[in-house]
């Protein structure tokens, strides 16, 4: 799931305050689950911005709405007239939704969130990063613990010298991913795997190869 975090209100206000009519637009999937950017959060944010406008004597008109997902064309259909009627949109979707909208509409689309990471919901209100979408999964070799997402150095043959009592040198609250991997391999009785060196990773499937694209030929509708 994509995890996001609302930007400070001051920053948001700075982006939108010079417009006349702004739509606060929620995205009701990933960022709604983390209670940051769903349609309800958009409504709350709109309400706070209206209060801010009243306090500052700014006559800006702020409306709110939202759709199921801002990364698919079809969902936008119903709200099309509303979007056409404003001079800017504050999207509370992740960076994907903001860009997707920006490509669709010729008005400024501002981000309401900082898109934070791909993570899991450990418990209500606690989200942790688990994956960096590197494009070449090695979890099968590392006992199900990702050294790319969870080791600060992305070391493939760890741990490094900064691992102390199972913690990472950058912060004593962060688990050393390689300690976790070793513990896990022991548990699974697969320590022989640890002796094998992992070859240099092909980073071309990661960001190094430029923006990525996936095409499922069988699903693409040919015109």
């Amino acid at each position: 799931m994509i995890v996001g975090e609302q930007k400070p209100l001051d920053e948001i206000w700075g982006m939108i305050k010079d417009h006349k009519k702004v739509l606060i637009f929620g995205c009701n999937t990933c960022v709604a689950v983390c209670q940051q950017g769903g349609n309800k959060e958009a409504e709350v944010m709109a309400s706070m911005l209206r209060m801010r406008a009243t306090q500052e004597g700014n006559g800006i008109e702020i409306i709110d709405s939202g759709i199921e997902r801002q990364c698919e064309h079809e969902f936008f259909e119903k709200t099309e007239p509303m979007i056409q009627g404003v001079d800017a949109v504050l999207s509370t979707a992740c960076g994907i939704g903001v860009q997707f909208m920006a490509e669709k509409y010729e008005i400024p689309i501002y981000p309401g969130l900082n898109t934070t990471f791909l993570g899991a919901v450990e418990q209500a209100g606690v989200f942790t990063e688990k994956c960096q979408a590197c494009g070449q999964c090695i979890l099968g070799e590392t006992g199900g613990i990702c050294p790319i997402a969870r080791c600060a150095k992305r070391v493939l043959n760890g741990p490094c010298g900064g691992s102390t009592q199972g913690k990472c040198e950058i912060n004593k609250d962060i688990e050393c991913a390689w300690q976790l991997i070793v513990d896990r391999l022991k548990l699974l009785n697969r320590m022989e795997r640890y002796e094998e060196l992992t070859p240099i990773k092909d980073w071309s499937t990661d960001r190094a190869g430029g923006p990525r694209k996936l095409v499922r030929e069988d699903l693409v509708e040919n015109e």
Partner: protein, 1011 residues
Amino acid sequence: MNEKKNNVKRGSVLITGGGIGGMQAALDLADSGFKVHMIQKESSIGGTMAMLDKTFPTGDCSMCMISPKMVEVGRHPNIDIHTLSEVTAVEGVPGDFQVTVKEQPRYVSHELCTGCGACEKKCPKLVVNDFEQGLSKRKAIFSVLPQAVPHTRVIDPDACIYLQRGRCKACEKFCPTDAILFEDTEKEYRLDVGAIILSPGLARYNPEIRGELGFGRWSNVVTSIQFERILSASGPFMGEIKRPSDERHPRKVAWIQCVGSRDPRNANPWCSSVCCMYATKQAVIAKEHDGAIEPTVFYMEMRAFGKDFDKYVDRAKNQYGVTYRRAMVSDVRQEPGTDNLILRYAKEDGALVDESYDLVVLSIGFQPHPDALEFSHIFGIEPNLHRFAKTTQFDPVDTTRPGIYVTGTFQGPKDIPETVAQGSAVAGRSMALLGEARGTEITEVELPPELDVREEEARVGVFVCHCGINISQSVDVKKVAEDISREPGVAYSDDLMYACAPDGQEKIKELIKEHHLNRVIVASCTPRTHAPLFQDTIRDAGLNKYLFELADIREQCSWCHMGQKEVATRKATDIVRMNVAKTRLLQPVETDSIAVISKGMVIGGGIAGMTSALSLADQGYEVHLVEKEDQLGGLARNVYRTLDGSDVQSFVKDKIAQVKAHPRVVVHTGAEVSNTGGYIGNFKTTLTNGDEFEHGAIVVASGGVEYEPDEYGFKDSDQVITQRDLEKRIAEGLAGTGKHYAMIQCVGSREEPFNYCSRICCQDAVKNAIAIKEKDPAASVTIFYRDIRTYGLREDYYQKARDLGVLFVRFDVENKPDVDVTGSKIRIEAFDAVMNREVAFTADCLVLSTGLRPHPSTERISKQYKLTTNADGYFLEAHVKLRPVDFPSEGIYVAGLAHAPKNVDETVSQALAASGRAGALLSHDRLSVSGIISKHNRDMCMSCLMCMRLCPFGSPFIDEDGKISHNEVICTGCGICAGVCPAKAFQVNSFRDDQIFAMIDAATHDIGASV
């Protein structure tokens, strides 16, 4: 004739005393179909708890907790309250008693009085206010407390000028409903009931007897109950802490403990059980009210024996700076000129000190009412040595007369939760006695069919109440009604003198019909007491009761804006307007009901479990008793005698035989719950042995374990044993004579990480010490202790042990005894505070008083049923004061050591309470679901699981499709899910977002966007 009578079972119960214990019993019985007659000597129910300011450890307001219960009792169709009444004679047999009741005149009509208080304002006579403990005055016509139930005023005939001297009648003149009845007379009548419950409550020691403490002589010496009133926001100083002499804020405040308790010469020999904790609570609350206060508690022994009590005392010390001084104050004198008090006491090293305090609080103890012996005589029950009702360790709520049960402080000193638990316990006992007569004496109310108004346009009727002059003196009631009549959707709007009076309610019903009103607002007082009343009114007129809203313009408007009529009127109009906006959007709520499987399951086959199972079975329900060991009996199998010498072994054997022989008890030994599903009324359980069954209620009585010590060389020497080992040796006949037994208390208890009192060990030590001395007077016993906690009537045995020559040596936790075991001799060195030096003893046997620990299965059971535990690992009840045997998850109850360490009699009481609560539930064929619940829209839901994670009751769950569904049966309508749901898929009936938004818009309608 008597034989014939024996077969009669009446479906009614008489309860004498409407304190918290009596109310709990009344509600449990009335809710399960029994008629209850509540006999109350005073003009209102409530008892002692209604006088208290706060309760520990939560700091909850006592009145706020008890008042809803009082209202519930007052409104319950199956409960008749007979105030100003006493029982004068009891005849008959269990199941069929004839009770004579004498009722004093009230001089005010229950039917006509609306409780407006106009009479009280006009009454010219002032008398001392007993409820406020003499700290303020009241009128001759009065209400004991503002939240009195019934709220009918009462005339004090000894104070009334008219009744005494034949003139005045001011109350009659000013009563707007002609409710005054000067011609009212004493009445005597007979009630036929099946069982009797005694809950007359307590009297308090009169501290004037202890002249050296200065009560009654120095005005700044007050009793603890007076101090409760001083703390109370509704008390004489409105919650500001002032001392009586000059109403100055005291800085140094002293509490003197054991005034009237543990003192066979000047007062009562027993320990009152609760004073250590209430003094601690008062010190903490005083400090919270006024940070400048420096509290000091003078005490003999800190008896913080209950669940989480020691932690509370630690918090008082460390967080609130309460000083505890182990010293008895011998003299209190007033300092001339300052009204301060000089306390004389000896320090621990023996030095005599005079210290000045601004205020002194005497922690006075409990005792039976002065007429307790006569009371026992009337009911034909035996009193014990101390005039409390006589009971036994194994039947703690049964009096000596069958069919008459006792609860609360008349059975012995105890605190609120134990009183409440006994309230449920006596309800359970009565249900077991009268089971088949359930439902025979209650009347079902016939209601007209509900009109379907869902498709109709809203036609709101608004009734603005004067409440005598309570509202109309500050609010222009007619103007509010007129302004509101112009609001959209309002079909009728007018004022009423008393909406709640019988004629007011009739008028509302007529107007509903005449104007085809389909939604109703009454603008009056608090919804707490009056919303249910008006809901019934409109239901009588054929409207769904959820089409009603109450606009509070008294507590929230007229009372807080006295003398500001213009703004108060404007605010009242705003409040009503907001309610109109909401009411227009109200929809009828259909309340569902579910079938109840009338069987129980009890987890644990110890004393608690067996007692619960037998009680439920006697009430007529089939019970599955699940015990993981191969045999029943639990920890009690290792116990031989109770403190009073009762034979535990034969009690346990007897219980096991009864359980096995009972036709309605199914015993599953060697089995645990492996799989569980369902909810209140409908559980389905599979055991590890493959047995499967369905049931409606669960009692968790999974017990505890004894701590096995590794302290003081226990593991290395056969001469170092536990109290349990010693008990066995005593039972088998002690070997040798003239031996020295040393005992060390609190081994493994009251210290981190097990910082709680195990409650049973002091009594184990005293019990075994007495047994040794009685068997072999030549033997000597020395007990090393921190505080001897023989609370309540157990104090007698502490006294007895001392009389028999048992030696008690106190130690501090920082300076524990040193033990050295060499050969056959044990050398114990300890610091003796009295002699101020180390002392050494040589003993033949060292006995360790080891405490209790939670049962290892607690964690698994808590996961299975989503139950929480406290920091020490014992199950946490729904509310530490008022729901002591309930879990927050409905239909599951707790009893025995699973809840906390306790003695046999307390375990039995609690087990009976749990089965009383469970029985009340199982007595219903169907359970109706509340109307105010959260509704889940599955189409909008995206299963983010926030609701499921945060719901305290477990009502949202992951269903068979792998998505969130909502079990409305266990929803309480708290609204947490609606608050956290990012998709707004949850909406609480009558508190929907659109309704709340409409209210906000109505409140802000005249506030422009450009403010």
